[in-house]
Symmetry: C2
Subunit: 331 residues, 2 copies
């Protein structure tokens, strides 16, 4: 067991978070994460309406009595999303931990805080983390270049981003992007983080509510099989490198092609169907570079417990051993 | 003091390497690194002729009686480089550690091995590390996306690259790219490396034979002030983001511009003059993202000793503390 500022603030056993993942963060996965002693988040907008989200929260409560949270990702969308109503559903359901992501969460902070909801804001740059701290969030999840989904446009990996965040942020923070095993957890803690977030790694678990073909694809893929799409639109997303992702990049770089051309192509290839039906080349789906470190599909409990046990072995065995050996030689 | 497979193999006190840096890896810096108990490398091709390299090796010997090595970077060049003669100069001078980099070192391995020279091959991809292992090198330096100079074209950062290398390589390896402090060292050791290489961080030391304005610029710059040039030529280099680097990228992306246009522009703006004269916008000079973690210009000895001392504090203090606290709470 590893105690950090994060485990204390959020009342969980392990400094491991399963943050919001569109179409993946459902009750089955989140309850399994909570029961394993880590902190899981239902993805708010995976539910079609605020009422469905309230039902999903109840469904998750039926599977665990441990704390879990809800992710609320605020993005500009073509079809307006009733964010206020999702926020109300979260608060009314008695959820006490929220992960905000995407745009500036300022508008939603007062209501959450008044309801006693702790806020973890996920962002990809130190300056955004500091802004969120000033706005009053309780913790930050800082997302490096390695991550699945949106890494931002600065391309700063965790090895750099984590210690710089540690130097400048006062509130607890977890490191996200590129984490999947005990080695990464110890590295993040050494670099100054109070814990890690894992996304792609939790997709390759027995309880993740996605098709087995996706889980097997994560096991089979290496670290080079991701692609950055939407770079030209400054809305970069790291996705699994399949024929659709390559087609998007081709359209983006074709002389004379417009953002509309990209949007029109993408509109026809949804990620949800891929995740649910396992038709791997049907659409775009997010995956981080950490897929190169995924070699099995364990239960969430086995995964979380393995990571914590091996992390302790790395600290008390490998790292302390490097110090002891020298101390003995010097005697 | 931290003992690893690397410190044992190369007979140094600390698992810290100052690898080859063109125009920077001269006797003053390398001797200071050796005297601090770390492993420094003279940059072979910084010397205009093999005879000059032999003299520089002697000059370095005059400043330290500890082991140091020579870097031999093998690259396609317009003007042919007498690599065989540089190799002969290294062997005849009695150097016992060489860092190869750039192209496949196969041609040079037999002569080095016959002369009892240990070889560390620097590369940017796991498949290249495995190839080097098969060719018989003694150790590998694996260079992540964060690094100064040539990160390759895969864009895999250390958080991913290091554990994957640890899983697949049998010989010792050090991690390179993004390292500048104790937190990075402990992270690298946790991720499975046997030590770290630092380049940019050693540029910002008292002994580095470059202009003070460059050292101050590293202190003043943040992690976002690097740029990737020569991407379009698939010969990517990470350099300090100045007006010249931005001009190169502009030329690269101008419709209709050719590699020749880039080469002609670059031919007129040499990095050596920048480093020696401190005219920051005169040319292109390599700098890694770690510049965002550089806040002072210490002596090499102070830097190396601070990193090792703080690394021990992170292991025995911060990380063990996280374990102890939980163990006590459970009593």
């Amino acid at each position: 067991m590893l105690a950090t500022r994060f485990t204390k603030m959020f009342g969980v056993d392990h400094p491991i978070v399963q943050g919001g993942m569109q179409w993946v963060g459902r009750a089955e996965l989140v309850a399994a994460v909570a029961n394993a002693g880590a902190l899981g988040f239902l993805t708010g907008l995976t539910q079609p309406t605020p009422e469905d989200l309230a039902k999903e929260i109840e469904r998750c409560r039926g599977m665990t009595d441990r704390p879990f949270g809800v992710n609320l990702t605020i993005l500009p969308t073509i079809k307006p999303v009733p964010y206020d109503e999702y926020m109300d559903a979260i608060i009314r359901s008695g959820i006490k931990i929220v992960e905000t992501a995407g745009n500036n969460p300022e508008k939603y902070i007062p209501a959450f805080k008044q309801a006693g909801v702790k806020i973890i804001h996920k962002c990809t740059a130190v300056r955004h983390a500091l802004k969120a701290e000033r706005l009053g969030v309780d913790a930050v999840s800082i997302d490096g270049f390695e991550c699945a989904g949106h890494p931002g446009e600065d391309d700063v990996p965790g090895l750099i981003l984590i210690p710089i965040t540690a130097d400048r942020l006062r509130i607890p923070f977890i490191a996200s992007g590129g984490f999947g095993d005990a080695r990464g957890l110890v590295a993040a803690l050494a670099l100054g983080a109070d814990g890690i977030n894992m996304g792609t790694r939790f997709m390759a678990t027995k309880e993740a509510p996605i098709h087995d073909k996706i889980k097997q694809k994560l096991v089979d893929s290496d670290e080079r099989q991701t692609a950055l799409i939407f770079r030209t639109m400054r809305n970069t997303a790291r996705v699994h490198r399949n024929s659709i992702a390559e087609k998007v990049i081709e359209i983006e770089h074709k002389p004379g092609s417009t953002f509309e051309d990209v949007r029109n192509f993408v509109a026809g290839v949804k990620g949800r169907h891929v995740l649910e039906a396992g038709e791997l080349d049907y659409g775009i789906w997010s995956a981080g570079m950490v897929q190169g470190l995924i070699h099995d599909v364990p239960s969430v409990k086995d995964l979380v417990h393995r990571i914590v046990r091996e992390a302790e072995e790395i600290i008390a065995g490998r790292l302390e051993g490097m110090m002891r050996e020298r101390a003995q030689a010097a005697e």
